[in-house]
């Protein structure tokens, strides 16, 4: 049994207020019984945006909530320290101060900043005192095909460098080969390597073939102690979608029903519009409940989403449609 972490000072981490997921033995009966009917899931996902609508002040509040749940991300080969520092500055002040003042919501920050291991120290330094955690994508991101011991070592180094959240990638081949035990063992070891840093398991759902595989992989990762499950690296050809999200959060719900443990959810890649963010939040609220609408249990992995939200918020405050250049780039 893994020990729940108790020492983190970061308000955005689940283990502060909730029991951290200790994991459980791999239960293959449960895993094999999982079903996911694609057509039905797609229908639910397709009608959800039309079933829930959030307007006016409510919309503004929801968009601000979305901002606090963003893992502001840069994962590019051309990242430099200066680029990362600029992103961190944006994370501290994601929305124009006047707009926030008009909404009486000062002090909003993003949920975290998400970078490659090499940028962790830079980001930690840039965010010092802000309370914003740094997430590192480790384990041979995005393919996860570097030697296993190196992946584990990468996690340790990222944690040592100050990352309090580690986004690991699973070995897709374990899923595609139906080798659930291998997936479980891998996740378990990575979770251990994370220590007190909390761990998000990236399933790379676009490469898992079926929603049933997505559901099963979600469950196995939770059984192995994942704090969060996350859709994608952002590098697959298909990243976060509503049907995939529905499948994963229903797995989270089942896990919660069975164990009482709250596991977080992070859709990543492809969410770039304020309207989409609201749809995702509504989906979470409907299927998991309002408790999951906090940054300790929900994150968007996104880079361009924030810009659209800023424009919508300015429009809400002024009544005028906004323009991109009016908002500082991250």
């Amino acid at each position: 049994m893994l020990q729940p972490a108790t020492t983190s000072q970061d308000a955005h981490l689940p283990q502060l207020t909730l029991t951290r997921n200790p994991g459980m033995d791999l239960d293959m009966n449960w895993v094999r019984a999982v079903q996911a009917n694609t057509s039905a899931i797609e229908r639910r996902a397709a009608t959800l945006p039309a079933r829930r609508s959030v307007k006016k002040d409510y919309q503004a509040a929801w968009l601000l909530k979305a901002v606090t749940c963003i893992d502001l991300t840069t994962l590019s080969g051309d990242d430099t320290a200066a680029r990362v520092r600029r992103l961190c500055a944006k994370a501290r002040q994601p929305v124009n101060a006047q707009v926030l003042a008009a909404l009486d919501m000062p002090g909003i920050t993003t949920g975290a900043v998400c970078v490659y291991h090499e940028m962790v120290e830079t980001a930690v330094a840039a965010l010092e005192g802000s309370g914003i955690p740094v997430a590192a994508v480790s384990t041979g991101f995005p393919a996860g095909l570097s030697p296993f011991d190196l992946r584990i070592e990468e996690i340790r180094r990222s944690v040592a460098a100050g990352a309090s959240e580690i986004d690991i990638v699973i070995s897709r081949r374990h899923v595609l080969e139906g080798n659930w035990q291998a997936l479980y063992n891998e996740m378990r070891e990575m979770r251990t390597a994370c220590g007190e840093a909390h761990v998000k398991a990236i399933l790379a759902t676009g490469e898992l073939g079926t929603l049933r595989n997505v559901a099963r992989a979600s469950l196995v990762c939770m059984m192995a102690g994942a704090d969060f499950i996350k859709t994608s690296t952002g590098k697959e050809s298909v990243n976060a979608t509503l049907p995939v999200s529905l499948t994963m959060i229903r797995a989270i719900r089942d896990y919660h029903t069975a164990t009482g443990i709250h596991v977080g959810y992070k859709p990543a890649g492809g969410i770039s519009k304020a309207k989409d963010a609201i749809t995702y939040l509504a989906l979470i609220k409907e299927e998991l409940g309002a408790r999951w609408l906090q940054p300790d249990l929900f994150r968007f992995g996104a880079s361009s989403l924030l810009g659209d939200i800023e424009r919508q918020l300015e429009h809400h405050v002024t009544g005028n449609y906004s323009a991109t250049h009016r908002h500082p780039m991250g």
Binding site: A36, S39, A40, R44, V54, D57, M105, K285
Partner: protein, 772 residues
């Protein structure tokens, strides 16, 4: 609430759709409406208020139609019909296309008006009702275009009286009007008195489309106006509504030849197997029983859950129910709106309040202080005998029980007087495709529910009514064969006083369950030839003989599950054996009827057997192209147990013309043989005996039809009555058929194989979405 507070609670807040344009439209019409007759709105007269059930506010005043209004509407439709039909398919298609376009152009106005009038959530009227109505007109514009090519031997019925319910006001209007107009009929339609506004807006659309005056007429009012239409000079009545009213309409039209289609109530099963995607099945229930506040004839209102997953499924369902939002139907984030009227609310409330059995769960929510609202309700643990498991509630109330095996699921599902729709959830295609055909329903949804489309027929079996709306199968309800055929005539039996021609007395018995049976009553009637010779005696059947025959036919259920190939083989074999004894049958026919037409009749009969044999494995269903990733299989299923009265004339051919197509399609049949010439039918059972026809598939009774007609019509275990006998029996048959709303077919000419095949089958649409 401030943004700061909302940031904490993350409530949805109000998201109202504006009612302004719709209310303005009502005011522009003077907030008072007359009828739409002969292309014009009549002057508003005495009537009643149409109210918004969510608020109780009056929306407009409608006019109660008088007899004279209905007469004028029918006269206008009658006058317009020949020209409309003559306009031709392509000409009519253009008008239907224009109507579809206009429905689209005014889609939001229709949606908001519908929600104001009916109380259904704006999401449903906007995303489901109105788009489906448009689709129905587009689809049938196509049907009009194709009619000459695709249905060259069908013609319009004439004037159709149409009475529609309040649960899907515009959509039901579309289901009625689009096919009627496409096939060249004109209509007089009465919307439900609670919900007439979109029909009146539709009348306005008809004017904008330039539809010729009189083609569509709309009269408003309550059930009394419906009765006037039923009794008016119309050629067809199409009704959607309650089984009780449908039954009354069947009886009221019994003494006429008006065509009739009825789409009635249901208590549709919703079956969840243990290998289903339970979360998706729970979500399906939201669309099954909380769609339109459960006021849906095909609502999945009877939940049947596989025992291994029952408790887990109920727990998930209760949790889901607590997420449903009930309130202002104009709010875009509302799942469950208002019940249509206080009367309906009281019915639902009383039915649920009268129950103290089982475990009840209701969505934990505050209902709006005013307006007609009822919380989503689940009652588990009811047994099959419970009234709530049997009766249609027509509200957001789901009742549930469990089953152990697939066959028990089918038994429970079919343990009802109704047979409209059914839903089943399983990830096992073998199970799904095995169970779907076994369910007594006109529509089956697998891993989905309440899917509708103009391309797939909708309608029920048993007391859910008859006729289909949508698809090719729906067009039969608005057309008739083009050519008039030679009418059948009644023939008096020959009289005589001479002795028997044969040396040894032969006894013709009844043929029941594959055995020769003496008549229960113990009476026989002599049968004489033209020259007065005694040809033999025919048994007089009574109601008990009929009862025995029905039991034998019901016991032969397995026939419906045999393959078409096997049935074809048996039909060919019957033909072969008849051919072998052709001379004997020829002489019998000549002796019975006089004349020398026996040989032709025998050859025609053999030909009919061979034709039916040929069709047995070729009268295929269709795979409808519905707009989902999936398919709707329109499967032709046997009607069931058919009781048929043979024509007096053509005693062999008439008999064979009914038997052959019926059994080719897998039905079991009970026949009342030709009244004046019964002995050829009793000879024929010897052919059946030697042709591998299983016991009970064909049963032959003799004697006066008058003694059988009423019992046949009122027998609850007969699915259809066909009569080619005395027209004087038609009323008795139609009236009696209301007992279980069995299908009736009153023929006036010798039945063709094609028409008989159609009467011998029911189309069941099985929706199969797929995708991995």
């Amino acid at each position: 609430m401030t943004v700061k507070e909302i940031f904490q609670t993350m409530d949805y807040g109000p998201a109202p759709e504006s009612a302004e344009e719709a209310l303005t439209w009502l005011v522009d019409q003077g907030s008072r409406f007359g009828h739409f007759i002969d292309g014009q709105f009549t002057k508003p007269a005495t009537g009643f208020d149409s109210t918004n059930p969510a608020t109780g506010e009056a929306l407009a005043t409608l006019t109660q139609a008088t007899q004279s209004d209905v007469d004028k509407a029918v006269a206008a439709a009658r006058k317009a019909q020949p020209k409309w039909e003559k306009l031709g398919g392509p000409g009519r298609a253009r008008f239907l296309y224009a109507i579809a376009r206009l429905l689209q152009k005014h889609s939001r106005l229709f949606a908001v008006l519908e929600t104001l009038d009916n109380g259904k959530p704006i999401r449903e009227s906007r995303d489901i009702d109105i788009p489906l109505a448009q689709r129905h007109f587009y689809y049938h514009a196509g049907m009009a275009q194709l009619m000459d090519d695709a249905l060259p031997d069908r013609a319009a019925l004439g004037v159709c009286g149409q009475i529609i319910p309040w649960n899907f006001p515009l959509l039901m209007l579309a289901w009625k009007i689009a096919p009627a107009l496409a096939m060249g009929n004109t209509v007089v339609l009465k919307p439900a008195e609670y919900t007439s506004l979109t029909a009146l807006l539709f009348a306005d659309i008809c004017r904008q489309a330039g539809l010729p005056a009189g083609v569509v007429n709309i009269v408003t009012g309550d059930g009394a106006v419906g009765e006037m239409i039923v009794n008016a000079d119309v050629d067809k009545i199409a009704f959607t509504g309650s089984t009780a009213v449908g039954r009354r309409i069947r009886e009221a039209t019994a003494d006429t030849d008006k065509e009739l289609t009825l789409e009635l109530g249901g208590k549709s099963p919703y079956i969840v197997f243990d290998d289903a995607d339970l979360d998706s099945a729970v979500e399906g229930l939201v669309d099954a029983i909380w769609f339109n506040q459960g006021q849906v004839c095909c609502a999945g209102s009877r939940l049947l859950v596989h025992e291994p997953v029952a408790e887990r499924f109920y727990a998930k369902l209760r949790a889901r129910m607590d997420k449903l939002r009930i309130g202002n139907p104009l709010d875009k984030s509302i799942d469950v709106g208002a019940i249509v009227d206080a009367t309906q609310l009281k019915t639902i409330t009383d039915m649920v309040a009268a129950n103290s059995d089982g475990d009840m769960h209701q969505t934990a929510c505050d209902l709006p202080a005013r307006g007609c609202f009822y919380p989503p309700t689940l009652i588990t643990g009811l047994d099959t005998a419970h009234p709530l498991m049997q009766e249609e509630i027509f509200g957001p109330v789901l009742v549930a029980t469990t089953f152990r095996t697939p066959s028990e699921a089918v038994e429970l599902a079919n343990n009802t007087r109704y047979g409209l729709a059914a839903t089943l959830w399983t990830e096992n295609i073998n199970l799904a495709l095995d169970v779907a055909p076994k369910l007594a329903a006109g529509v089956v949804w697998t891993n989905a529910t309440n899917l509708f489309d103009a391309a797939a027929g909708f309608g029920g079996v048993r007391e859910s009514g008859f006729g289909r709306e949508g698809g090719w199968e729906g067009l039969a309800a608005y057309t008739k064969p083009k050519d008039a055929k030679k009418p059948l005539s009644l023939i008096a039996p020959f009289e005589g006083d001479k002795g028997p021609a044969d040396g040894i007395d032969r006894t013709a018995k009844l043929y029941i369950g594959g055995k020769q049976a003496r008549p229960d009553g113990g009476y026989s009637t002599p049968v004489y030839g033209k020259n007065g010779t005694l040809l033999g005696h025919a048994s007089q059947s009574n109601r008990k003989d009929l009862r025995n025959a029905v039991e034998a036919a019901q016991a032969a259920k397995g026939w419906g599950k045999t393959t078409g190939h096997l049935r074809a083989q048996i039909l060919y074999y019957i033909g072969e054996n008849l051919y072998a004894r052709a001379d004997e049958f020829e002489s019998r026919l000549n002796a019975l009827q006089g004349g020398r037409h026996g040989a032709t009749e025998v050859q025609d009969s053999i030909n009919t057997l061979f034709t039916a044999a040929a069709w047995a494995d070729k009268y295929d269903g269709q795979a409808h192209g519905v707009p989902i990733r999936g398919v709707a299989l329109a499967m032709k299923e046997p009607t069931g147990v058919i009781a048929a009265l043979c024509p007096d004339a053509h005693p062999l051919l008439g008999l064979v013309s009914l038997i052959a197509p019926a059994i080719a399609m897998g039905n079991r049949i009970i026949l009342g043989a030709s009244q004046p010439f019964p002995l050829v039918a009793t000879d024929f059972y010897q052919i059946l005996d030697t042709s591998d026809v299983p016991a009970g598939v064909v049963n032959i009774l003799t004697g006066p039809h008058e003694a059988l007609a009423d019992t046949m019509a009122r027998h609850m275990d007969i699915d259809a009555v066909w009569s080619f006998s005395d027209p004087a029996l038609s009323e008795t048959i139609r009236k009696g058929s209301s007992s279980n709303l069995k299908r009736t077919w009153i023929g006036t000419s010798l039945p063709t194989t094609k028409d008989t095949l159609a009467a011998a089958t029911e189309v069941k649409n099985i929706w199969i979405p797929y995708g991995e």
